[in-house]
Symmetry: C2
Subunit: 428 residues, 2 copies
Amino acid sequence: MAVINIGILGLGTVGSGVMNIFQENRERIREYTGVDIQTKKVLVRNMSKPRDTFFENGTLTADPQEVLNDPEIDIIVELMGGIEPAFSYVLQAIENGKHIVTANKALIATHYEELFKTASQNGVEIRFEGSVGGGIPVIDTITARLAGNRIDEIVGIINGTTNYILTRMSKDGMGFEEALKLAQDKGFAEADPTSDLNGQDVSFKLAILAAISFGIGIEQKDIPYEGITKIAEDEISYAMESGYTVKLLATARKREDKLEIYVHPTLIPNHHPLAAVSNEFNALFIRGNAVGELMLYGKGAGSLPTGSAVVGDILDIVKLKRKSAKTGSRPIANKEDLRIIGEDTGSYYIRLQVIDEPGVLGAITTVLGKNGISIASVSQQALGQKDVPVIFVTHKVKREKLDKGLEELRELKDIVKEVACILRVEGY
Amino acid sequence: MAVINIGILGLGTVGSGVMNIFQENRERIREYTGVDIQTKKVLVRNMSKPRDTFFENGTLTADPQEVLNDPEIDIIVELMGGIEPAFSYVLQAIENGKHIVTANKALIATHYEELFKTASQNGVEIRFEGSVGGGIPVIDTITARLAGNRIDEIVGIINGTTNYILTRMSKDGMGFEEALKLAQDKGFAEADPTSDLNGQDVSFKLAILAAISFGIGIEQKDIPYEGITKIAEDEISYAMESGYTVKLLATARKREDKLEIYVHPTLIPNHHPLAAVSNEFNALFIRGNAVGELMLYGKGAGSLPTGSAVVGDILDIVKLKRKSAKTGSRPIANKEDLRIIGEDTGSYYIRLQVIDEPGVLGAITTVLGKNGISIASVSQQALGQKDVPVIFVTHKVKREKLDKGLEELRELKDIVKEVACILRVEGY
């Protein structure tokens, strides 16, 4: 099997996630790409730190030049964060003819034009899906999937820390400080959360989204931003009373020849899909002139979600280099490996139409009990009509067991007029 | 500029959408791909039907062989629908070395394995983003973006007709028949809606999603499906009283070596993101072992949304053929063309902290009025404390005008202690 070598700069949260994904899904990735992707060199700050992943001797290095100048490395994966030295390393790698995958929002937002110009001159790809929205495919959707659209508006919740805090304030009545502390305890806020809370983190991400959506060079410093630090109970109460939800939104909207762009805490109506984006989740709402309204929702940060985006970018470049077909079946399993079983078990809502007489409910529950169908709740409305509904909800039960019980109920023709409706009940 | 020729089979709803998108966004697409994409041949049933789009003489044809055998055509776009003759045409095109883009769910669901085997033997691509979820990039996300993930579960609302009907029943208290009639009037349901209402349409789409998510050959006939025709007021009332929403869900879920797969109307808790998917919108919820939970939301049908997916597929193949870099700026406009204006106008929520004295509200509204800031609502809570909040919401106003007004308020130091919080209010 052919080999493609990658070099990784930085083995922090996202870097470890990438290594985990390659380890966990190695077979799947081999079959998908048709090549063996090997991690040839990894730049780390501390050579002696204990690691979860096993690396062969000589893979880890503290010398960036060992990674950047290795002629056998095809793709450099930059996961250091920050602008320097990441920018210098990436430029050097591009000039050495290496493709780039990065999750570094500050780098892309700050040096967008120079990076892409240099990449174009050197015939290499730069992918940066992980730089905005973690595992959510926002970059590829805008740049490739919607390439035939004129984008008119993007509105996003693209900071998990602030969304988690606002959710706790709204749903649990916490104050700002209390919610921040909880976010820190849960790992959703950093020890120094300043750039998350004041909106600056969002402004970097918005600069990237605006650049790819509207094809203009826009710098983070051109984007006015306002964070959530001034939001108090009054705002949360007002929102709840008025049918709104408070969200920190990144907005870029075309108005004729103008681009409105800003980061601002906003009251949005509860019926809007963004209002339902809770906790640490992110979402991007996109309006295109062909696709209409589109929303992408998921985990906007974290080792594995962002790692998923980075791995997706690496595999895309591998596919491109190999010129192999991109679509088609995911060769994960053969028919033999996964047994298709249709509907298995579930909790069910059942509505029977029955005659309104004493003893009916007893007769029904007897049949269900005999068939091992355990009932979580039952309600009967006697309205003095000929047929009345009996609604019951089962505990988890095999579908075939349920069907057998319902078949027996249908045979009680004197009292059960109809098994009128069956719904699944999912707790999620 | 280099030319890539496409041939289109079928000029119905989606075909017309594709032509509109190419026309409307021609410049953007040229700059993005670096080539001129020309529609060389279009197969139509009726040559003399009047068309919105202008076609050069000889473009329209009623003879499929003119399209399939044209040696200058690189990509065949199949938008006829149905299994035959679409399947024969597509197979012939593949054997002629042409790439395929299709939005035909029945074709892909029924002949998945044979199509991809033949395509692989002939070194061509098959793309089918438009076959499930209209403009929502579900296929590319699963096959490419999440290629590094093991997919564990997919749950989707992938039929707009039934979702529209269920929404009207839930939100407007309509009965099934009334909601169906409204859906037909609005163009969300076909004259014969049988395969939408009974769940069969969803089962075709689910067969495709399961094939790409789990890498197994699965046929529509193996998927048990149940539609929404039995749902009555009782179910809607029960759902509303119990904190649930009724949705028609397509589900495929891995349980060890088994795949549960079915289409079933389901009660889902209101807090789940799928519960907020209303009207004709579709959404797909995906759980991967790296990305975690991901949801994609948008218009699942229609001329332009589905056309957007088809055009995305065409451009992807063009990029692949040209081996040109896929990412980077969308060269839509230069800095000169779009003037970045930060925040422009908006409706705002303002909380002031003021002293609790008579005449305060009058002084504040006078300043606002003088600055042309029109107030939509105001509320003051006098709690006998030193500082009390005054909350007002403005009508649409320029941000700079608002800021000037707020500046003057800050100067009323005797009564205004603080401009404590400013939120935008978006109606959407």
